[in-house]
């Protein structure tokens, strides 16, 4: 495979995408799990499909549409949740299904040949473009910068937002920053893992790292390492067995998570 990696640009792009999406999915996943935003992330990803459809219909870059719809979903779900005093499930389900329905509608009413949207639904790391890589790099750097600069504020807000607010910490700024970063990360990961499989790339590396450490900073680091290893190993395996890389990455991550769970159970019983 190494020969092919040096010979083909699409494989080099795929390797970079694995590295960056592994880091981004890993760190974003820890925040998503600790802030209990897993289902909301699924809702944001599926709402993004509406933006992809709008992009195809009106002839602009579908990823820009996905970014707009994702940000709208993140703020919309948050606002509906606060206004309605209900848990996030109902607004998440509404955005989830309406976003998908809009995507299907927009693509359905397009004149001429219908575009192939499979890469947005299931992801295809081998079709990642230079633009996708720039987007992925930018969002990964932004997320890492946020974590490095405002780690203490993030820790305080995630642990106890009400107390932090009484103490004068700008919890609203931190919470909105988290929403924006999660929405952008979801869009960046869609090109690699797809709308349907993206949740696994967010949750499994973070869940694996949670089995090994109880310190948030170590969990962030380990989760990024797991994300990179799963993505690269999935890419190599899919190259040899000729199966979709997204599916291999998800199954490999789930397998390692299961092993870690069994190991923990064995250690407890032993």
């Amino acid at each position: 495979m190494l020969d092919a990696l040096f010979s083909y640009q699409f494989l080099q792009y795929a390797a970079w995408a694995c590295l960056l999406s592994g880091i981004l999915g890993g760190i974003c996943g820890v925040i998503v799990i600790e802030k209990r935003l897993v289902m909301m992330s699924g809702g944001i990803a599926h709402t993004a499909y509406g933006g992809v459809g709008l992009g195809y219909l009106l002839g602009f870059e579908p990823l820009l549409g996905a970014i707009g719809f994702s940000l709208g979903a993140a703020f919309g779900i948050g606002a509906l949740q606060k206004k309605g005093r209900q848990n996030a499930d109902v607004p998440t389900a509404i955005f989830w299904s309406v976003g998908m329905a809009l995507g299907v509608l927009f693509i359905g009413i397009m004149p001429g040949y219908l575009p192939d949207v499979n890469s947005y639904l299931f992801g295809n790391i081998l079709t990642v473009s230079a633009t996708d890589l720039y987007l992925l790099s930018g969002i990964t750097l932004l997320f890492l910068l946020f974590l490095w600069v405002l780690y203490e504020d993030l820790l305080a807000t995630l642990f106890d937002a009400e107390f932090s607010r009484v103490s004068g910490i700008r919890t609203r700024v931190i919470e909105y920053a988290i929403l924006v970063l999660v929405a952008l990360s979801v869009v960046a990961l869609i090109r690699v893992a797809g709308i349907i499989l993206m949740l696994a790339q967010l949750t499994l590396p973070a869940a694996c790292s949670a089995q090994l450490t109880k310190k948030l900073s170590t969990r962030l680091l380990l989760s990024a390492v797991f994300g990179v290893v799963f993505s690269l190993a999935g890419l190599v395996l899919s190259y040899y067995i000729n199966i979709s890389s997204g599916a291999v990455i998800v199954l490999l991550s789930a397998g390692v998570y299961l092993l870690l769970l069994l190991r923990k159970k064995a250690t407890k019983n032993g």
Partner: protein
């Protein structure tokens, strides 16, 4: 003596239904006040309105200090969160605003130790994971965290709920030592505080039912809750 907390004709409604109905009282500096009442009587609503989480429908709240400490119900904080005791305490030393890494001040470890001690814990707890603490230890950690901001007015929401009797006594002892230097207002269901811990009792049952010396027995409290009498 001027009141540190003055509540005038306060009404707070949820979806049009009053949780607090024209409540008025004031609390002076150095008092240790227990707020009791039946479930749904507006105790937590009162604390949350003073803290600014809820807006009054009518009436006013005047607080003469901006140094307010808050100890939430322990059940509202996620104890499984991956954080150590030291990290929890450090969150209380940050102060107002945002705290970029390069502008952050170094933490004074001796202050952390002193506040842990005031809350009845020792410095050896600092490296422990919060998830490894017992219910009583966790509640005392929340108290120590609040003390780090050196509050003049301390608001506590059921600080002894779900803790064992020994921890409850330790928490009451720690709080009693804080008054009269600090003003302590504690929402509680625990009638043991009426035997010498607090200096004043306020009963709420959507409106003010009792405000006076903490001399009521359990039977007396029940009579107030059932009869809705008002004693100023």
């Amino acid at each position: 003596m001027s009141p540190i907390l003055d509540i005038r004709d306060l009404t707070v409604c949820y979806s049009g239904q009053p949780a607090l109905n024209h409540v008025s009282f004031s609390i002076n500096q150095g008092e240790f006040v227990a707020i009791m009442g039946p479930n749904g009587g507006g105790k937590t609503t009162l604390i949350r309105t003073v803290l600014g989480f809820l807006q009054p429908t009518e009436g006013s709240i005047a607080v003469t200090t901006d140094k307010i400490g808050y100890v939430p119900q322990s059940s509202s904080v996620d104890r499984s969160f991956p954080i150590t005791v030291r990290e929890v305490l450090k969150t209380a030393t940050l102060g107002a605003g945002l705290h970029p890494r390069l502008w952050r001040k170094k933490t004074d470890e001796s202050r952390l130790d002193s506040c842990l001690e005031q809350a009845g814990l020792c410095e050896h707890y600092k490296d422990r994971q919060v998830s490894a603490l017992s219910g009583g230890e966790f509640q005392r950690l929340l108290l120590a965290r609040t003390l780090l901001s050196d509050p003049e007015l301390l608001l506590l929401d059921e600080p002894t709920a779900n803790v064992d009797p020994l921890s409850r006594e330790q928490i009451h002892f720690a709080l009693k030592k804080l008054a009269p230097e600090k003003t302590v207002v504690m929402v509680t269901h625990d009638i043991s505080v009426l035997s010498g811990t607090v200096s004043r009792l306020i009963c709420l049952g959507d409106r003010l039912l009792y405000d006076g010396a903490p001399t009521l027995t359990a039977a007396g409290l029940n009579a107030y809750w059932a009869g809705g009498e008002h004693h100023a």
